[in-house]
Symmetry: C2
Subunit: 380 residues, 2 copies
Amino acid sequence: MNYSIALVPGDGIGPDVVAQAVDVLDAVADKYGHVFNYVELEAGGCAIDATGEPLPAETLEAAKQCDAVLLGAVGGPKWETLPGHLRPERALLGLRAGLGVYANLRPAALLPQLREACPIKDEVLRASNPKGEASFDLLIVRELTGGLYFGERGRSPDGSSAFDTETYSRSEIERVLRVGYRSAAVRRKKLCVVDKANVLESSRLWREVAAEVAKDYPDIETTYMYVDNCAMQLVRAPGQFDVIVTSNLFGDILSDEASVLTGSIGMLASASLGDSPEEEPKAGSSGGAKASGKRVTMGLYEPIHGSAPDIAGQDIANPLATILSAAMLLRYSFGLETEARAIESAVTATLDAGYRTRDIASRNGSAGAVNAAAGSTGAV
Amino acid sequence: MNYSIALVPGDGIGPDVVAQAVDVLDAVADKYGHVFNYVELEAGGCAIDATGEPLPAETLEAAKQCDAVLLGAVGGPKWETLPGHLRPERALLGLRAGLGVYANLRPAALLPQLREACPIKDEVLRASNPKGEASFDLLIVRELTGGLYFGERGRSPDGSSAFDTETYSRSEIERVLRVGYRSAAVRRKKLCVVDKANVLESSRLWREVAAEVAKDYPDIETTYMYVDNCAMQLVRAPGQFDVIVTSNLFGDILSDEASVLTGSIGMLASASLGDSPEEEPKAGSSGGAKASGKRVTMGLYEPIHGSAPDIAGQDIANPLATILSAAMLLRYSFGLETEARAIESAVTATLDAGYRTRDIASRNGSAGAVNAAAGSTGAV
Ligand SMILES: CC(C)[C@H](C(=O)O)[C@@H](O)C(=O)O
Ligand SMILES: CC(C)[C@H](C(=O)O)[C@@H](O)C(=O)O
């Protein structure tokens, strides 16, 4: 099959890690007989330099025409003093909203190979793990196009105060919860809604909607937890969680907290999904791959790490998060489960063989700072 | 001197731990020649049962007449199904707003005696500790009477959406920052403002105000951090922090996360302070202790743990957080530094002597589940 993939390398190590992921995708294309057409697009700091805008209209338009988007990272000190609406982060927010990718899947699992890099004590991990193992495997589903990120904001007329608005509609809450339930159904069948319902009205609406949606998934256990408690529980008992569904802001905070528990944010992939075609047929979708009868779900895939400008261009950045994001792309946007698993197995094999980038090299120095991507590509 | 202290034992283990703290306060009164007049007040679930309201008007009025308030804990499953405005938590929010205690000080330090109970690996703690020790000592100053907790909220007319508003004025931000700076001045002279200024307008106002206020404290190092990054840094490098100042919501989440790193939330005290008299003379303040010329700062003192109804009334709850809250009360509301230190030393001595409640008994079982309060009282 023919697929078009928008590549948005961005800034810092973005181009480094996207290049490695493309090598892996090419290996997959060869082996499984697909054709991936890449469309390289500018966004973030490099786009500010080239066009004055973090997200040029052409970038968003071109991305929408593709079947999926793979992004590296955006931002860096060079652009940090610009006013808010001209900062590289706007590219991320603009792509998320523009592509309508409202469900952000952030898996955080502790791989046995990286146990030493985890900051939490083994016995703490074991205590909450259903099998008594020193590991955890959770998925945070973060709402990505609503809430405090996209509500009305501003200053009072005299400039003496500022405000932001958290708004959620029933339909926004429902659709992201359904993504959570579908994910839980193929995992350990537990879903925890995280909110601050003892204070926030929007959180109370989340609970009401969740109580309704839960009825459609009787074999999944639904629980509720306050965000402050969740921030504690992630550290003291991460093994209790399977799928967490939460708002944009809480998801931002909790997924970063969870990421650090895995030992390296250089390992963590993410997928941001819109509606899949069976749920909302895209009338007038613009030909290309979509017209060919393939079922493609628009998705934005990116490592959760930042642009790390200090190590850019040196071929030492950990590309695994981006390679694993490419695997998610194949799975969620193209439905290519076998191909996705091939990449994931290649990553595991690479780690098993002892290849490590610096960020995940164990402290006793048994493994060298070898670029893991080379290993991955070979093993696909 | 004569002081009046409002006691709000509340629900669950609240009465247990407040009783222990009163024993300690009585020992202090004896030894240092003070008179503490206690005024016992109802709030929380017990007040709902007695009066139908979580915070009866008489409770708030009587609390305001006292020199300081010591609270146990409120809430429990019995009242969890009540509508929002009738829930025990409203008592907390009502007391905070009603007493005007806008600066919530939440110290989180890892005591050497409790290192085993900390979920983080020793080498991780050492790496960020300036002295290379496996410990940390930070203070979160949380804004307590503004932000998303007290902004306008509601539903759309058709009920299809809900909203909450985060609002901060310059003066609200400034006064809590100043509490942070004054705290940093007597600590390690570092202050980190935590916000989400890459997205929120209110956070951008925080940064503007902080940049101005910082000029008044040239010997204190001011840094800025995004809340998602802070949630990571607390786990991977807690030793980097001295004082963190942040909004109501972020402070709620981050202080709970920090608390779990200390090994036991049964140990953690908190102080919520209003303006001290030199800053804002209380015109017409209602006689009693205040009229006598003493300088008293209104404060609400409480353990950060919850009401733990499952272990209430069994004399096994850890009273140290409440006892340490009483120490903060003497320090911040009454200016009794020597007396506060005496309590803190007594707590340390009690732990050194091996007394432990169950929640902090080390896993190898060397210490029994002894009520630590008895030891504390004796040692003052
Ligand atoms: C850069 C920032 C706007 C962004 C967010 O808060 O969503 C980032 O933290 C993330 O989580 O992808
Ligand atoms: C009970 C709740 C309203 C409260 C808060 O969020 O402030 C609690 O979590 C706290 O931190 O004291």
